[in-house]
Assembly symmetry: C2
Homo-oligomer: 300 residues x 2
């Protein structure tokens, strides 16, 4: 059987298509979904991410603004800005681009954003609600993985999902999404990390293997069960003199060799990475809808 390549682009497009009527409905009700992106300092990678995010907004007709602050911005200044944005009705989503300059406390900022506007899904309130199976704004990358599995009709129910990596951004929320008692989850889940002994013993048992470690091509063919589904969340630059830029992008999975053994796999680039911004758009629309519902509840 041929290995199915799971491309992110078509799933991301489908997600964005699904948002268009929802955005139109918000506008009809007099609310234009809005996202504000806060960028502190001049990190070049962050500049690119921020540009991509605001472009995605434009293409969907989501109102967006980017606030660029100098690298010397103080905690107090950033806190006050967040406080203002929390009550600014133009914006239903607030995204403070990480990483922040080192003198700023990222946890303090994340917790200061209103959980209702936390479109990154990083606020403990949203994390806790996710864990408890309540409605929450979900972190974009793991939510994007869920969308991809649904789109490609890969069932998780009763499967053994093994997650490699325990970051706050991917591994932990991925874990907590996957065991939930819901139609599109309900998997038995194992989480592995740098403290895991004999990693291979675990990865070899995965029906669905999800890798988010930041270690280039660490998952080799011998670590994957024949016929497994492999989701590679990693995006790593490795030096490559044959490329114009001097590097190429690889995932956390050794794609070429693993591909031969699995039933489906996400490529890097072109896989999960493309989902993140689409899910950010979805969260922004979700936050705008929740805002409308809350206002209407208030009127009752």
């Amino acid at each position: 059987m041929e290995t199915k390549i799971l491309y992110g682009k078509e799933v991301a497009e489908a997600v964005k298509e699904g948002l268009k009527p929802r955005i139109a409905k918000c506008v009809e009700k007099g609310i234009h979904p809005g996202l504000v992106v806060v960028l502190v300092g001049e990190d070049p990678a962050s500049q690119v991410y921020v540009r991509n995010k605001t472009r995605a907004c434009e293409s969907l007709g989501i109102y967006s603004e980017t606030l660029r602050l100098p690298a010397e911005t103080t905690q107090k200044e950033l806190n006050e800005l967040v406080d203002q944005l929390n009550v600014d009705d133009r914006f239903h989503g607030i995204l403070v681009q990480m990483p922040l300059p080192k003198h700023l406390n990222d946890i303090e900022i994340i917790e200061r954003i209103s959980p209702r506007k936390d479109v990154d899904g990083f606020h403990p309130m949203n994390v806790g609600r996710l864990v408890q199976g309540q409605n929450a704004l979900l972190p974009c990358t793991p939510a994007g993985v869920m969308e991809m599995l649904i789109y490609y009709n890969i069932k998780t129910k009763g499967k053994h999902v093994v997650i490699v990596g325990r970051s706050n951004i991917v591994g932990k929320p991925m874990l907590n999404l996957m065991y939930q008692k819901s139609e599109y989850a309900n998997a038995t889940v194992t989480i592995c990390h740098t403290g895991t002994r004999n990693m291979k013993e675990y990865t070899l048992r995965a029906d669905i293997l999800i890798v988010a470690t930041g270690v280039p091509e660490m998952i080799k063919a011998g670590m994957v069960k024949e016929g497994a589904v492999v989701i590679d969340v990693g995006v790593n630059r490795v030096n490559d003199k044959t490329k114009k830029k001097g590097y190429r992008l690889v995932g956390d999975v050794a794609f070429d060799e693993v591909k031969e053994h699995c039933s489906a796999i996400t490529p890097v680039p072109g896989g999960v990475g493309l989902m993140t911004i689409a899910m950010l758009m979805k969260n922004t629309v979700q936050a705008a809808e929740d805002h409308i519902n809350l206002k209407n509840d208030g009127k009752k």
Copy 2:
């Protein structure tokens, strides 16, 4: 080798002993740690639990009050009471005894309690912080399991911990505690539940098996690896005419047969169950200490 029986009583005593100097220090600073327990309705089991909790407070010199509300209490009344207690400086911990009568929304109440006073550790804010590896008030039963493992010098680092059960109260927080990158966690963790196929395949691989399902004696000898550590969080009543009360208490593990195969096991009763109230006391003292620190920070 003989199987070690892990009794909860001596660990709970050790935890409470450890609290005495901390309580004395709070009192020295003019703050008497206080717990308020809110009991709605007449559930007989809840009455017993509440009595045990306030007795534990008395024995340690923690100030406590029990507020008994009629079963007909409205959501609005209960909300308003919680609001008052949130700003009542006599109480550093607020415990609303669950389950609430069916007309009341327990999630609304849990989220209304100030996360700082949430000594049950059920507020999403505390759950989210736990997941993210930040300081949090931890749910009492899983925190009690961690204490027992530390007390009996059972290392979790690099071990395979398998958790059976995905309740908000035990299974989920237990999972999220166990994989954290810390000296007393750092395990590879698998979570199983009612959606798991071939449960035995997973439980047989556990170095440490933690069971919290509410299904009497579901874990049989054939499901446990030789030499494993077995932690039984279940407390179930089964009919037994030979007993005065007409029932006896059993765990989720078939103790007599599993005991023969494992290196250590918690009994029911007498095991994990005894830890919960001790951990509630610990959370109350913790909340009082945090209150003092916060006040002092404010003075700076």
